[in-house]
């Protein structure tokens, strides 16, 4: 009987979390020793796991548009804790700093810091930078 009670108590009190360890190895796909910075407009943003996912349209000097794929360094749980809302990202003009893909000529990065250019340079950390959510 005591065990029954204890089990029920354990379920009810199971609101504690184990700190998450990084289980998607960024180092395999993104070069942590290099940083790139892009400027463009956020087209999509999905708050999902394993990592939130964003696309940004970037124009080069000739006007040619490239789509960059941005992988946040944290997942959906921390995104929700941070209070991120998709509509606050879509369509915004931003700069994004992060670690580039290891693929030669690839247009992807693990980010990093997002700066909103039309909102007084408001900064949002997508994981792993000071003041931001932990890397997952």
């Amino acid at each position: 009987m005591k065990l029954c009670f204890l089990g029920a108590f354990a379920v009810m009190s199971a609101v504690l979390a184990v700190p998450a360890g990084a289980h998607h190895s960024f180092n395999t796909f993104f070069d942590g020793s290099r940083t790139v910075k892009i400027e463009g407009v956020i087209k999509t943003f999905r708050l999902v796991s394993p990592h939130s996912d964003m696309t940004v349209e970037v124009k080069d000097a000739s006007g040619k548009v490239a789509t960059w794929h941005i992988t946040a360094r944290t997942g959906a749980v921390n995104a929700k804790r941070e209070g991120w809302r998709v509509e606050e990202f879509i369509g915004k003009r931003v700069t994004i700093e992060g670690n580039p893909t290891r693929r030669q000529g690839g247009t992807a990065m693990a980010a990093g810091v997002v700066t909103f250019l039309d909102e007084g340079n408001k900064v949002v950390c997508l994981g792993g930078c000071p003041g931001g959510p932990p890397v997952e």
Partner: protein, 275 residues
Amino acid sequence: MSVMTRMKRAVLTGACFALGMAIGTADLRAQTDEEFDKIYPFIGNWDGQIGSPNEQDRGNCGGRLGDYGEKLLNCTIPVGQLPLNARAEAWLQYMDARQSPSMADCQQIPYPAVLAEGSEIMAYPGRLEIRISSNPWFLYRTVWMNGTGPKPMPGQFFQHGISYGHFDGNDLIIVSDHFTFDPDGLDDHLHMASSTRKKITERYTMIDNDNLRLTITLEDPTFLTRPFKYAFLWTRIPRGGLQPGWVTCDPEVARAEVEYGYPGTKYQEPAETAR
């Protein structure tokens, strides 16, 4: 009421009573004060310290490098001492991160790698429920105690195996086997596979009220030259911590991340390379 009706009712009552006795006896066996006293110290939330300031050194994948010379990081097993056989070395030589099911298909992180994360341990009559809320997976397993629980049929295998527990003195022992073959089954950052011969023995020893030592004995004759033993220290997490995350992984996003980032064409078929 006819004699037949009375007889039917008596038989039905007797059957129900026998069933109740059988179920009741099974449950009572796990509810003794002795069992309660033994299980009590292990119940709660435990941190494997993988991300804490005093992070335990697990050897950072033993200095092994990935395809492009990048250092493999955050292995949850002391890779430098892992007794891999020639077959395992061959596996690592041809390992393909793009095909890793835990990276590309949201497959849950396997045991024993996930044991580095710590766990929430809950106790019920005849079983323990252990959950690991590591993002982006949420892993839940049952440990059948003292001979209770289902026995796998021949040919039945499970990604996380099937686990049975008992006490050795005051130590909690959990033995798991009947694992499926898993491309990331020994460690998902080393990307070392495990076979259906994998067997994991966990020994949980209380050091004091808030600290325990988890000693893991890992066996897999397909990939290891001998059983391998290593340990973690777990620390109790006080109440009031963060909410666990019930989040499912999106395989499309996971796969895109791997595809956009994977640095080259080493494992791509010619048709893929030509795209």
